[in-house]
Symmetry: C2
Subunit: 272 residues, 2 copies
């Protein structure tokens, strides 16, 4: 699928420089995960665009974000504080502020990624059901627990591996693991910005064990490891430990060639 000129994702993550020199964006209500709450990965892509606007490097390689409060659609400012910058990488801090105050504070590192093969890899893609035999993550009336009808699912085609989608069929499992294939619905091919979106794109892993409910992200770190090939990306989210009201979620993302292209880890609050 060729990259379209009019990508919804590119338009929704666009960052504009004001006459005063500041950076602003108009967050698109279409990327929500609940009433008035936008997806964290979508917000990271906007933040990364702001950091890139102030960097000589073309790609985000590491973002570490504190989610200060939920972020809704509408106008926001993006305050970028540049840090040291060199030939290899550049640092900056970005604060996203909307009507409700600062909602995202992010450490960003930019650099130049390649698609050269890894010198070492211990993260091959897992066994997974081919995309054409996976479950659509939208409500077609057949699933007891389909994903809620939120904007994110219309923007990102999501195909759930039946092996980790028992919860959607009324049979939650023992492991907080969710796996699926994703790609942008607008036909735009994946790039490092899209990988930031994909690093928080699946439903909470706690749903896989029948703990439905909102699992708000507290902190999220995303590492982008390589330029992804065109096509579907495979995303696996896994919680290692649920304790004291908290859970971690590790994401690993492979491109269509099976290459590990991103990793993320978040700390979230556990649904009751």
């Amino acid at each position: 699928m060729p990259q379209t000129d009019a990508s919804l994702f590119d338009a929704a993550t666009a960052v504009t420089r004001t006459e005063g020199g500041g950076l602003v964006a108009d967050l698109d209500p279409g990327w929500d995960v609940g009433p008035g709450v936008l997806n964290g990965g979508y917000l990271l892509a906007v933040v990364a665009r702001a950091a890139l606007a102030e960097s000589r490097h073309p790609h985000p390689v590491a973002l570490s974000a504190s989610f200060l409060r939920a972020t809704g659609p509408g106008p926001v400012t993006l305050a970028v504080t540049p840090g040291p910058a060199g030939r290899t990488l550049a640092h900056s801090s970005v604060v996203l502020t909307g009507a409700g105050g600062p909602s995202l504070a992010v450490q960003v590192t930019t650099a130049t990624l390649t698609d050269e093969p890894p010198a070492y890899s211990a993260a091959p893609p897992p066994e997974v059901t081919p995309v054409e035999r996976c479950l659509p993550a939208v409500d077609d009336g057949t699933l007891p627990h389909p994903l809620p009808e939120v904007g994110l699912r219309t923007r990102v085609h999501t195909r759930l591996d039946p092996a980790t989608a028992g919860w959607a069929l009324g049979r939650p499992g023992e492991e907080p693991v969710v796996r699926g294939w994703v790609r942008l619905a607008d036909g735009r091919e994946p790039d490092p910005l899209a990988l930031l979106l994909f690093a928080d794109v699946l439903p909470p892993t706690s749903w896989a064990i029948g703990r439905f409910g909102w699992a708000p992200t507290v902190q999220l770190q995303v590492l982008v490891r390589a330029l992804p090939a065109p096509g579907w990306c495979l995303v696996e989210a896994r919680a290692n430990e649920l304790a004291g009201g908290w859970l971690d979620e590790d994401y690993r993302i492979w491109d269509a060639t099976g290459r590990l292209v991103a990793q993320s880890r978040q700390l979230a609050r556990l649904p009751r």
Copy 2:
């Protein structure tokens, strides 16, 4: 071992409030990992103390840091920008600035940790050699590649699992994994601040495959999951992918009871 009144770790991480209300620290040269370069975990413990000084919550639960430049010993300021704070958790941003300028920018989340058992855990401790049969990580004249004689090793007792210490015996392995037991040399028992130190305490995992050299941390996220029991902590560091001049390092830390108490992930530059 009882917690001593005069813990070197507590003294070296102390943060003081100035008459003007700001926070300062005097970084101790004894926690170095190379000439004039202090250990990243040590620095995170200092940063966490600054965040705690401005929080109603007693424990660091998540720190995400950008390492802007190497940090040496001597006086530093710690600028804390408080974020939203509630009954469950509080956010802040901390910038550590020394003679060379800002060197660490950190997102911090504080909360109240417990030692209540996990509701789910998929991270049991790995098979490991008992501490009394592990290798000391200091130069006793018997190891071809002992750890460099740096301050950190005199401050943290480190016992390397021979199963992942082939590199120290002149036989680097195939896997970038290093495992060892650690505890503070001053006899102080572990707590969440010590876990921050332990989250960057082992030599680079790239040494395990014979790529010796400095692997500077670019970004590091640490999650503290529970209050650790007294005694040795088991630390395992593992790189998943080495590519394009970068490596990731995942740390998992278990306390003396085998409980997972902390996780970290860093992106670092790969030694040549």
